[in-house]
Amino acid sequence: MRLSTPARVILGAVTALVLAVVYLPLLVVLANSFSTSRNLAWPPPGLTLEWWGRAFRSQGALDALLTSVQIALAATAVALVLGTLISLALQRQAFFGRDAVSLLVILPIALPGIVTGIALNNAFRTILDVRLGIATIIVAHATFCIVTVFNNVLARLRRTGTNLEEASADLGAGVWTTFRLVTFPQLRSALFAGGLLAFALSFDEIIVTTFTTGSGVTTLPIWILDNLFRPNQAPIVSVIAVVLVVISILPISIAQRIGGAEQVTK
């Protein structure tokens, strides 16, 4: 198949146009974070740095950020352990019910968030009778984060094969030594990529969170949602939005660098 030059140009133009549409709203938020208008008026009537100063002194936002990071770290840790175990089981051995297990891992993310949310809310409140709070959010987040670690580790295990592990066993290494010295080093970057995705998923989650959070526990997305409709807070939300987008460059570039390094060493 050889694409004609006009076809290439049209494809390129469509890509450029869509990317422009993707970034335009984000640029509007950036501009609004400096605007003197409190109700998103366009064009901005004047420019100010007031919101940036107020955002960094907003105790509510900073507390919410800390809560979100704690939850995301804990959920990621659980997801890393469970996701690795289940992908080792699924990739290295064939057994009855394997498809059912892999469907079970995918289900929490394939079903809409509202289903996961209300199912867990109902289970926590009416069956287990536990108080909703940070712990219940972590359990909920870990459940749908397992799949990101699972996907990454499974893909890596498929690619690396079992030759090295068999060689290690033939040379007399035990199960644990083989995992520590052979399997784990091969998985390290896949674990990092999966963990990063799990962290981002948890950090950004709002729907399941609203159903599993208790009074007094505010994650950053919940704080943003609470403040979105308050007229005086709208510009501060814009500032936090910009900060989040800028911070997100960091994990992407790390993931890209790791991915790039692997392309080279592959």
Partner: protein
Amino acid sequence: MTAARRASAYLTTHARTRLALLLAAPLTWLVLVYVVALAALLVTALWTVDSFTGEITQTWTLDNIVTVVTGALYQAVTLRTIAVALLVTVIDIAVALPIAFFMAKVASPRLQRVLVVAVLMPLWASYLVKAYAWRSVLAEGGVADWATGGNSPGFGLPATIMTLAYLWLPYVILPIYAGLERVPDSLLEASSDLGAPTAQTLRLIVLPMLWPAIIAGSIFSFSLSLGDYITVNIVGGANQLLGNLVYTNVGAANNLPLAAAIALVPIVIMFVYLGAVRRTGALENL
């Protein structure tokens, strides 16, 4: 021989035990947390709420499910939600296909890396930030009003569909891009050497290989749209989707059994959808 070595030797020769140990923790977690919760949701849908005390009484009844299936409001909202989710999915696939194709098959390796980052970055930007960004664009006196001279579409269902399509676009581009990367260039060259026009190559070579990836992308956009109630709150005006009904019944109306019955609707829809696409191999592409 130490205990550790003995355990190791035992595990090497006993694959079943090894499997059981590997699966024990994750399966316990997923079954206890998720399967039990889903089953409990079904059970709760069969209970009822005492209208005086607001407590859940465990009398078995099909009333909630009958209400959801036959009530005019629920039927209308269900159809509206499915229509929104379908439109969002179709828009996303239509937009994602040319971009993914350009990224995978036209762009130079350098440009390709740049484009992957450009597509990924909005994915990492917060969901709320993006919905909020569209709110600022569509708000009264906002960018859209300014650009169209006061004829902005404003908040409503079209705004909801547009915003949802915007939110899930990277989730659809990425699997399709990964799918196209797996189509070898040599295959496309062979097809054209054998005299196939571009359209025919796309239809007979690329599309069949790409199908699972497209389905995988559609699972994301369809499922995510099906359960969304926050975007519609932010840009949807007074419109309600299934998610809103579930949310109000859990919170304000305090009728968990009815909420559970409503939540069964997206569960059934997704299971039918997943069952229908299982054979395409799409689930391995998620």
